[in-house]
Amino acid sequence: MLKYIGRRLLMMIPVMLGVILIVFTLMYITPGDPVDTLLGDDATPEMAEQLREELGLNGTYIERLGKYLVNLAHGDLGICYSTKQPVMDRIIQTFPNSLKLAGCSVLLSVAIGLTLGIVSAVKQYSLFDNIAMTLAMIGNAMPNFWQGLLLMLLFALHWKILPASGFDGWTYMILPAITIGTSSAAAVARMTRSSMLEVIRQDYITTAEAKGQTELKIIIFHALKNALIPVITTIGIQFGHLLGGAVLTESIFAVPGVGKMMVDAIKARNYPVVQGGVLMVALTFSLVNLAVDILYAFVDPRIRSQYK
């Protein structure tokens, strides 16, 4: 197992280098000068040149990329243009907020999605199944940002029972977590249903029924355990994406997370924050994928034996 983890971690190095290369190149070719944004209209050419030199914006593409990689090797992701803080500090400030939001959303999506998926599969073609799957399809098609706005309109502006934006406590997390969690739940529910339907037709389920096991026991210990692999993959991918990709929800509810930080940075041409942020998001995403693969081994003994 350790050998497998080590090999996967080593394979991440070229992927991360590729991510750096792509993001660095995109930021390099992005039109506009961040110096103009920072200094405003009153700046003299001398002031602009001095700032450009300070920020390391002079030099060719290769020189700047080389310098960035050398700094990165020393754990330096650069300095944020707007706050003058190290980029790593900004990530450390924002990442826990994204992590909290992603955690709550995934918990909600698992609770709703698994329940709906299991009951739909067990009661296939029933009224409950039809309603649950129609709701899941609507949830899949509903844009996150629209759902967020509707929730804000109802709960914050109309009924005034929840805060509309900000991140000062757990109550501030409810609306963004519902926004993300319900749309993720739609995907989890559909995946759980289709995976459970494949499993409950297997011979070992019939055997368990023949042995007189209760329905609940069969569902939880025989069917669900064997249907979990694709569900874990879906949940893992969503969790990984949410750690940096909940851009719209974070923007709507003003959650100071990684996604919002990066969108603001892209708009302000704050290159070090974008580069550092995307790198950290990609790294987290790859680590979550690795964790999901390791989790397979705990769920399925056949996979566990392959790792040995």
Partner: protein
Amino acid sequence: MEKTKDLTSSSEAGSIKKRSQVKEVWRRFCRNKQAMVGMCMLLLLIFAAIFADIIAPYDPVEQDIINRLKPPSSAHWFGTDELGRDIFSRILYGSRISLTVGLIAVGLSSIVGCALGAIAGYYGGVLDNIIMRCTDVLMAIPSILLNISIVAALGTGLQNVMIAIGISSVPAYCRIMRASLLSLKEQEFVDASRAAGASDVHIIIHHILPNSLAPLIVQATLKIGGAILSCASMSFIGLGIVPPTPEWGAMLSTGRDFLRDAPHLTAFPGMAIMFAVFAMNLMGDGLRDALDPKLKN
């Protein structure tokens, strides 16, 4: 002469078989109620996009400040926006943009992705490794962030939004095509074609691609809905298609500022996005069921 006759009859048999296969898939698709609902919704959307000029009661960009923020009425079915523009007309014209983005972005990504996947799967070795590692890199970045970064670099606008969504969708097609190729290239009909002197390109296009079309069609149909959502998302945060172009995401974005006083500004564009994505998802699911050999009997 005899040989030519044989060939003709075998090609006829082939075309009959191909026709009957298509017919069988269509029959299964038609039997699926959800898929039919999806198709009707899509046809309605296409109709709205094509005949927007005739159906729309107002010019989508014409401002009428006196009638700004009017709620839905008989004069303005979906009300008016902050500049007095008719929301119903803007939504009709917006369907053109959404469908264009969906079709072109998916077309672009499927062509590039399939070509790369075919090269990786057919030739294997170093080429396969390089292509697959590139897809790993693209897949490691959340698609919304990749899309935003690409649009920031290329500039906002319809064309660049389509390119951005297209690039971020390439890995999915590449992987599907490669997986199909790996299993198909060992088949006897490929060996037979190779033995008959067919070139690699001929084998891939004429023998392998038709046999791996089913998962690609399903993926493409489902991805059109995803592309429509991505376009709306980018426009929503101001990095996609910018006003006054009647794009649904951009309309939702401007509606945010009037959420309390004029919620219809956000309600109708949101419903339009959901309608389009829902239609594509229903179609995609229906096609998957119709093309799945496991469900044949």
